[in-house]
């Protein structure tokens, strides 16, 4: 009980883990603020840097991939589709990030390390199949 109080008190002097993202105070008009940002009148406070081993959007190295399909097999949410591109012999994969649970099992099982977890996490979109949410 006492430890908790001491911890909390010490934490008071530590640098906050959060920051004022995206601008210093909540703007009254978001689109207006975004315009100002594009004109360079307002600067955006960058998001807090992600922690080590952060599991963001999957990055796919297409040239390394040998098309073994292990990732598609192991994927628990069936977010990885295996297909043969036209005019190519080897199979390739397509990842639907909208279904991805960021479990990182495909990364672990890949025999040639063609997959890796990037630090990108701003993935909100209105369309599940938008270009931003499909990795191939």
């Amino acid at each position: 009980m006492g430890n908790m109080l001491i911890d909390v008190f010490l934490q008071f002097f530590r640098k906050p883990a959060t920051n004022k993202f995206p601008v210093k105070y909540t703007p009254k008009d978001v689109t207006g603020t975004m315009k100002l940002v594009q004109e360079g009148k307002v600067s955006i406070v960058p998001p807090v840097s992600v922690p080590e081993n952060f599991r963001g959007k999957i990055a796919y190295d297409r040239d390394k991939c040998i098309g073994c399909g292990l990732c598609a097999n192991v994927c628990p949410s069936k977010a990885i589709e295996l297909y043969t591109p036209e005019g190519e012999k080897k199979k390739k994969i397509r990842i639907y990030v909208a279904s991805c649970t960021f479990c990182s099992q495909c990364n672990d099982i890949c025999p040639v390390n063609a997959l890796s977890m990037s630090e990108e996490f701003l993935l909100a979109d209105t369309d599940k199949f938008s270009k931003n949410l499909i990795v191939d």
């Binding site: 911890d7 640098k15 883990a17 105070y25």
Partner: protein, 336 residues
């Protein structure tokens, strides 16, 4: 004739005083709430809202629709927030401001304050029952239980203070002017000081209970009762409860500072006259902040909510016993 003139003079003074103290209480209460939110956020390594956030919240709440539930008793439901705010401000009128005791001092003392402190909590109970909703009713029942629980330690503190002062031959031992001008620490030996430290600890434990703050916020319990007593309140009524909460924080901190830390800073750093008075007042506000930081903000960040039976047994059995031990130490010290 003379009596009537003086009565009129006093009553007009009371009105002016009430207005002034309301402005001070409401504004500084909201500032206290802002500071509380800011420091609590910093202790959770967040940045937290700006200091003026409570003012924005109140402004927003006053603009919102004031909904009265179908099953509520409207006049009780609507008057409960007014009573809560008015009674908290009333207690503030009796409390000394730094060393400046007011003319209200001759109309009431610490015992009166002990009873007046019940009214804001009681009006919340009444408002909860008048909401006619299950969550509010459960919240009101819990508030009643916790209200009854923290009475014993609080009464013990008041009795101890009165006993120390009257044992040292001070007339009107319960009056706040005597308490502020005769710091209790000057009238006790080492054993008695130990007793006073114990009593200070129990006052610090009673404060979050009186304010329904974590870990004693079972009556409100956002996660299980969805706000409990306040569940059905919205708009203007909720804003008044919100302001009353800030005023109550101010009242309890002022009370604790008046009883346990009435020392000024002007003698210490050697300034006299009006500047010394102003320095004392600023120091008084700083003391209020510090007391609130230790007994409300830090506790509410560090601990989780207790169940209502735990609150009750903690206050009645454990804290009641501890403060009686403190009282006994003071009695031994005073040669009872």
């Amino acid at each position: 004739m003379n009596d009537i003139t003086s009565l009129l003079e006093t009553s007009s003074w009371i009105v002016i005083w009430a207005i002034l103290i309301s402005i001070y209480g409401i504004l500084f209460g909201l500032v206290l709430k802002g500071i509380d939110r800011k420091v609590a956020a910093r202790m959770q390594t967040r940045i937290g809202p700006p200091l003026r956030q409570p003012f924005w919240d109140v402004k927003k709440l006053f603009l919102k629709e004031n909904i009265v539930p179908k099953d509520a008793v409207p006049w009780v439901f609507n008057s409960a927030p007014v009573v809560a705010l008015a009674s908290s401000l009333l207690v503030l009128m009796y409390l000394p401001f730094a060393k400046e005791t007011t003319f209200m001092d001759k109309y009431g003392d610490l015992v009166l304050i002990l009873y007046l402190l019940i009214i804001p909590a009681l009006s919340m109970v009444v408002g909860g029952f008048a909401s006619g909703a299950p969550y509010s009713t459960v919240g009101a029942q819990r508030e009643m239980v916790s209200m009854m629980s923290y009475e014993l330690p609080l009464a013990t503190i008041v009795i101890s203070v009165g006993w120390i002062l009257s044992n040292n031959g001070i007339v009107n031992a319960f009056a706040l002017s005597s308490i502020v001008n005769n710091p209790i620490w000057d009238h006790v030996g080492i054993v008695g000081a130990g007793g006073l430290i114990i009593l200070l600890f129990s006052l610090m434990a009673v404060t979050p209970g009186e304010l329904s703050k974590i870990p004693f916020d079972a009556p409100e319990a956002e996660t299980e009762l969805g706000g409990g007593i306040l569940a059905e309140y919205s708009g203007r009524n909720l804003a008044m409860f919100y302001i009353a909460d800030g005023v109550k924080t101010l009242v309890l901190s002022s009370l604790a500072v008046a009883i346990f830390f009435p020392y000024g800073i002007s003698n210490f750093i050697g300034i006299t006259g009006d500047i010394g008075r102003i320095a004392d007042i600023i120091f008084f506000l700083v003391k209020i902040e510090i007391f609130m930081f230790v007994s409300v903000s830090m506790v509410r960040v560090a601990f989780a909510r207790l169940k209502i039976n735990q609150i009750s047994s903690l206050y009645w059995v454990k804290l009641g016993f501890v403060s009686l031990v403190g009282l006994t130490l003071i009695l031994i010290d005073g040669g009872f």
